[in-house]
């Protein structure tokens, strides 16, 4: 009785039938918007505005994307705002794919991307702001000294189930994997030549911080996260330890001279039709003026 009632208004423009057709933008949008919430079409103009007034930059930039890049961009944005007080920059995380998606959907002006852009993403403009790598982290009380390439593959595919098999205590390993759509996951998979289905995780995490938090609270966990974020957290006393991979310590030096095997660029992407304000910020973020901020976040400035 009820479901039938629910969808039995197809004669009216709001009915399900009328919506599926291509006329949805005019009929449904126009009519129901007007009926439901009055004219709220004025938002677009309010969001953009003129980027320059009296020779000063002003306006708002929304930035979303990779949680690896977010803390750095947050710092850069704060300094930029100090210089241009009429500018407001909001930074939100959600993963690289979200950054790209939001820029394309025009919900955000700039996307944060923690990997190399793919060929099919050539519609976006790329601005490298730093170099980062991926570190494997365990709880600081975990006695495991280091992991080799093969050991990592064994652990993440579920063949190695106990820490004792790789030189740790006799405890079951808790494998922490990144969620689908995260750049860190993609780099991890491609470096170890794994397919997503082969990884046998026991916990899935999104942001780097969430991975670090998970490892810091569970003594048997292993995760892979941004080197910058992990070093930053570990330097402030979070209970995690960064493991050497194939004998190389995940340090800034190893990143800089290229000896660490898992590295990636951190990028900002924008649409081709960005306004002056967005362009000014992008140029600022890629300039030498912010290299101290890049290093403070345990990343390496991009090579010119």
């Amino acid at each position: 009785m009820l479901p039938a009632d629910l969808f039995r208004a197809p004669g009216r423009p709001g009915g399900v039938k009328g919506v599926v057709t291509s006329s949805r933008r005019t009929t449904l949008g126009g009519l129901l918007t007007l009926v439901l919430f009055g004219a709220s079409g004025g938002c677009d103009s309010a969001r953009g505005g003129a980027p320059i007034e009296d020779g000063r930059l002003q306006g708002r930039i929304a930035i979303t994307g990779s949680s690896t890049v977010a803390p750095l961009v947050g710092e850069i944005a704060r300094r930029f705002e100090e210089e241009y007080p009429a500018v407001r920059i909001d930074v939100q995380t959600g993963g690289t794919s979200r950054g790209i998606a939001d820029v394309r959907r025009e919900i955000a002006e700039i996307g944060m991307v923690s990997r190399v852009l793919r060929p099919e993403e050539a519609d976006l403009l790329n601005h490298a702001i730093a170099v980062d790598g991926i570190a494997f982290i365990v709880h600081s009380k975990n006695p495991v000294p280091a992991l080799t390439h093969e050991e990592i593959v064994g652990i993440f595919t579920g063949e190695t189930r106990r820490w004792s098999e790789v030189g740790g205590g006799d405890r079951e390993i808790t494998v922490v994997n990144k969620a689908d759509g995260r750049a860190t996951l993609e780099l991890f998979l491609s470096h170890f030549e794994l397919r997503g289905e082969e990884v046998r995780p026991s916990v899935i995490i999104g942001d780097n911080q969430q991975g670090i938090r998970t490892v810091a609270t569970s003594p048997d966990a292993v995760a892979y996260v941004s080197i910058g974020t992990a070093s930053f957290e570990s330097s402030r006393g979070t209970a995690i330890r960064l493991l050497p991979v194939d004998g190389v310590d995940p340090t800034l030096e190893a990143l800089r001279d290229g000896t660490y095997p898992l590295t990636r660029p951190l990028n900002l992407v924008s649409r081709a039709d960005s306004n002056l304000l967005v362009e000014a910020f992008l140029a600022y973020a890629a300039s030498a003026e912010v290299h101290d901020l890049v290093e403070a976040q345990y990343f390496v400035p991009p090579v010119e």
Binding site: F7, A9, V19, I100, A101, D180
Partner: protein, 288 residues
């Protein structure tokens, strides 16, 4: 302004507002349907249950779109929670109505109402910080179906308890007086007279609680580990359909995004069925 005219204006304004209020659910259904179309057309409903896994970001061809493990996760956590919460909820309702001294019964009811008002993130953080480490000591990793079931049980218990309690209250006094006149014991009265009389109210309560459990997002997201797999034990981490939407909505594009709307539509359909059943149950009792 003539009186008739103003009354007409009033009536039509009210009708208009009511119409808009009634159409919101249609608008929601319509939007979910429209956004689902690409996935339904390009991926097809069949693949949502026959693909090998859930790796939707590869796109229509390369990706795989199997909802089944997450539907199983939702089913497992919901049925576990409902199975636990139903006896506990009915017990709580009986306690406040028949077993507790009067003052205590009222106080207990307030307490359950308080429990009903606690936001799901707060249950989530409690599960994350208190419950998961406890389960981890027993069976690592701790993020598990069990944690989800326990947290959800506490969350939907008030729904069962409060709705059952109000249907117990609606049992006519004459029934109780009759039972007392027959000299029935308290339990005999409850089992033989009160519960049968309140049955449809209790059924409604359980159905609505089930709806709440299916739709719950934050708490299960925070405590269940979110691995896409069909659980084989209560200690396995699993992902519910709702948690999947919350996790992936932010970055999903194209077919992936559309697939999430399909799962939203599925959730909506489940709720519609549950609400319809509960309306049916309560209307049947009214005319019985």
């Amino acid at each position: 302004m003539s009186r008739q005219w103003s009354e007409h204006l009033l009536l039509w304004t009210l009708r208009g507002l009511a119409m808009v209020a009634g159409c919101i659910i249609l608008l929601i259904g319509a939007f979910l349907a429209v956004e689902s179309v690409p996935a339904l057309r390009e991926v097809g409903l069949g693949r949502f249950f026959s693909d090998t896994s859930w790796h939707p970001s590869g796109g229509v061809e390369a990706g795989s779109f199997n909802f089944a493990p997450m539907a199983a996760g939702t089913l497992a956590v919901t049925s576990g929670a409902v199975l636990l919460a139903t006896p506990l909820g009915i017990g709580s309702a009986l306690f406040c109505h028949f077993y507790a001294p009067r003052g205590l019964g009222v106080a207990f009811r307030r307490l359950v109402e308080l429990l009903a008002g606690i936001p799901s993130v707060v249950y989530g953080i409690w599960g994350l910080v208190v419950l998961i480490p406890l389960i981890r000591q027993w069976q690592p990793p701790g993020q598990s179906l069990l944690a989800g079931i326990l947290v959800l049980t506490i969350m939907i218990l008030p729904t069962v308890a409060l709705l059952t309690e109000s249907s117990l209250r609606a049992v006519p006094r004459s029934y109780l007086q009759g039972a007392a006149a027959l000299g029935l014991s308290r339990w005999a009265t409850v089992w033989g007279v009160v519960l049968p009389a309140a049955r449809s109210g209790i059924v409604t309560a359980v159905l609505l609680a089930t709806g709440r459990a299916i739709g719950e997002t934050m708490a299960v997201l925070m405590v269940m580990g979110n691995i896409v797999q069909v659980p084989t034990s209560v200690f396995d981490p699993v992902r519910a359909l709702t948690a999947n939407i919350a996790l992936e909505m932010g970055y999903a594009m194209d077919a992936h995004r559309s697939a999430l709307f399909v799962s939203g539509l599925m959730l909506l359909a489940m709720v519609v069925v549950l609400v319809a059943m509960s309306v049916w149950a309560s209307e049947r009792s009214r005319y019985a």
